[in-house]
């Protein structure tokens, strides 16, 4: 039908029909033009609701502009209207692939404002959960990155293996993601009795899976062709653009906050800061693959030396009063504690209500607490004015900052490489837009 109408209307001599025969004319007509193409925000290969506006010269990218904000949920603002403890429930939803890092960075900030430190057992459990979370996050990066490059096999493998880790998270916190398990002052509840057994099973299982990925991808010609030499970002440019994490380490910069400014007792554990020199997308793949192994090393050490004792600070002005206990139907209130507040101590009941409904005041001040998340430096700049709610919480999300490098990394590459480059940055839009 459409063909007929075009044949019937030959009046305009400049009109071009793209049906193959007049292709020469078509390319003659567009030689000295750049084309602006919109990619996203709804596009399966743009890694979430990321919108890219590309300026193309033929197939070659001249400029890339990332348009973000489609997932902005005002979490920073929301925390200003909730108590300090409730804040963990919000921040865990920012970078949804690394919830434990958000919770820890936030809790460390609140703890610094309060001038307290979580008990050793809580710190060690945090480390175990964070490192497993790093592996889970890298699995998703591998899965989505693989899918974006056309390998659905990697996608199914990545999500399959991540599920083992999420099962552990669920057994400890009750939810697969967005746990709100790490709280200012320690943890919401102690780990379960089978925690060690479950983690040991993961320590046994995961190295096999890492080897699988290596076998599948390391010498895979497509994987190599798509990633090698693509999206090069050297050290100096990485620093200027504020890029941290695996991207900076893939450029040979051994900068890791776990090593440089240890928190949660990372100085006790023996691990390598993985670096590569190639600075391209393939180097980032290698760095992340090796990082997963190093994370498992840390998990093993932390589990071997897991201290006993409480998982929440002893201070009744700060600690969440409710005591949880694992019953036959999941985590619930401890009957002994209920008996105590309902039958024995009126003051305990009052304290319980005050802490739960009003929270606790946090001394005025300003802190910046940062942890090494799977994507780089995750920083919380928090301001308190001495009330029970934060005055301002600002999050320096590594995805947000690293995304700025996409322009420079993409220039001169073809459109298909942009997909590989964005995948190698591994931005999580929940963290970018907050």
């Amino acid at each position: 039908m459409s063909r007929d109408t075009r044949v019937d209307a030959p009046d305009d001599p400049d009109e071009i029909f793209v049906d193959g025969a007049d292709w020469e004319q078509v390319i003659d007509a567009v030689t000295d033009e750049t084309l602006t193409v919109n990619m996203g925000p709804q596009h399966p290969s743009t890694h979430g609701v990321l919108r890219l506006v590309l300026e193309l010269d033929g197939e070659v990218v001249r400029r890339l502009n990332s348009v973000i904000g489609y997932l902005h949920t005002g979490i920073e603002k929301s925390t200003e209207y909730r108590t300090w403890v409730q804040g963990t429930t919000f921040v865990t939803r920012m970078d949804y692939l690394s919830p434990f890092f958000n919770e820890t960075a936030y809790s460390l900030g609140v703890e610094r404002l309060l001038g307290i430190e979580a008990p050793e057992r809580a710190q060690a459990v945090r480390v175990i959960l964070m490192e497993l979370n790093r592996i889970a996050s890298h699995f998703v990066w591998l899965a989505t990155g693989g899918m974006e490059l056309g390998s659905t096999t990697v996608m199914t493998y990545g999500f399959r293996d991540r599920e083992h880790i999420l099962d552990l998270f669920e057994s400890q916190s009750g939810v697969r993601m967005n746990h709100a398990y790490i709280r200012p002052g320690g943890l919401a509840a102690d780990v379960t009795d089978d925690f060690e057994e479950r983690v040991r099973a993961l320590i046994k299982l995961l190295p096999e899976r890492f080897a699988h990925y290596e076998e599948l991808l390391l010498r895979n010609p497509i994987w190599n062709d798509r990633l090698r030499g693509v999206g090069v970002l050297n050290q100096e440019r990485a620093m200027a653009l504020g890029v941290t994490g695996p991207l900076a380490r893939a450029a040979g910069l051994p900068w890791d906050l776990r090593r440089a400014q240890p928190y949660c007792g990372y100085e006790q554990y023996d691990f390598d800061v993985v670096t590569e020199d190639a600075s391209d997308s393939f180097a980032r793949f290698l760095v992340r693959l090796e990082e997963m192994r190093q994370s498992l090393r840390i998990v093993e050490q932390a589990l071997d030396t897991l201290p006993g004792g409480p998982v929440m600070v002893d201070d009744k002005r700060i600690a969440w009063p409710s005591q949880q206990e694992l019953g036959p139907d999941g985590i619930g209130n401890s009957p002994e504690y209920i008996r105590h507040i309902m039958g024995e101590s009126m003051e305990s009941l009052i304290n319980h209500f005050k802490i739960v409904t009003q929270g606790y005041p946090v001394p005025a001040g300003q802190v910046y607490s940062a942890v090494e998340s799977p994507r780089g430096e995750l920083g919380y700049a928090m301001t308190s004015i001495g009330t029970n709610k934060p005055y301002r919480v600002h999050v320096r999300d590594p995805s947000f900052v690293n995304l700025q490098a996409a322009d420079e990394m993409s220039r001169g590459h073809q459109v298909a490489d942009v997909i590989a480059i964005v995948a190698s940055i591994d931005p999580v839009m929940g963290g970018v837009d907050r």
């Binding site: 005002g74 610094r112 504020g242 051994p254 400014q261 606790y360 910046y368 301002r392 700025q404």
Partner: protein
Amino acid sequence: MSGELQLPSPERGTRRPTLAFDAVVQRVTTHFPDVTHDVDRGELTFHADPQQLVGLLTFCRDDDELACTLLADLAGVHWPAGDHVIERQTSTTGWPEHRVSRDVGVIEVAYVLRSVDRNLVFRIVVATDDTDPQLPSVTGVFETADFHEREVYDFFGVRFAGHPNLNRILMPDDWVGHPHRKDYPLGGVDIDYKNDKFIPSPERRSLREVVE
């Protein structure tokens, strides 16, 4: 610092021993005598004048002793004018009362600087009047400030002079107001319900015309 970026060693993550805060303060104040500082909870903060900002950040980046090659964070806080006293029962909490009293509302912008080489982190804070907030852009010193400054503009309305593309970044382009300011009214975001009538909150009516 001139030429190549100095590489930290793989063993420690830093190449040279870290500097004590006193040494940092001395280094900065010899070149910028007007800059004041405080140390709170193990964090060093410099308070500078907006006019000095670009010079100070350039100094911290290029100085061989400090070598702050990374601008880690840039964020704003709004302190409106007025007398706010937060009293706590010092007998039960032991924490002192906190008093904030300002004649002029300000927006404080904090620049968190990191030295990879020295394993050092400190903060530079500048304040600008909240009725007409303006600051020089530091995108010429640290390119990473691009998104950060757009975010501060979006949330606080601070106009960064010299920024290449100062647009809203997280809020929609046609958004009215700057939502992280403390005088920004809450509630009443209009949503077009097909068979319902939207009624904005009283505070909100001043911001946006009520559309039939």
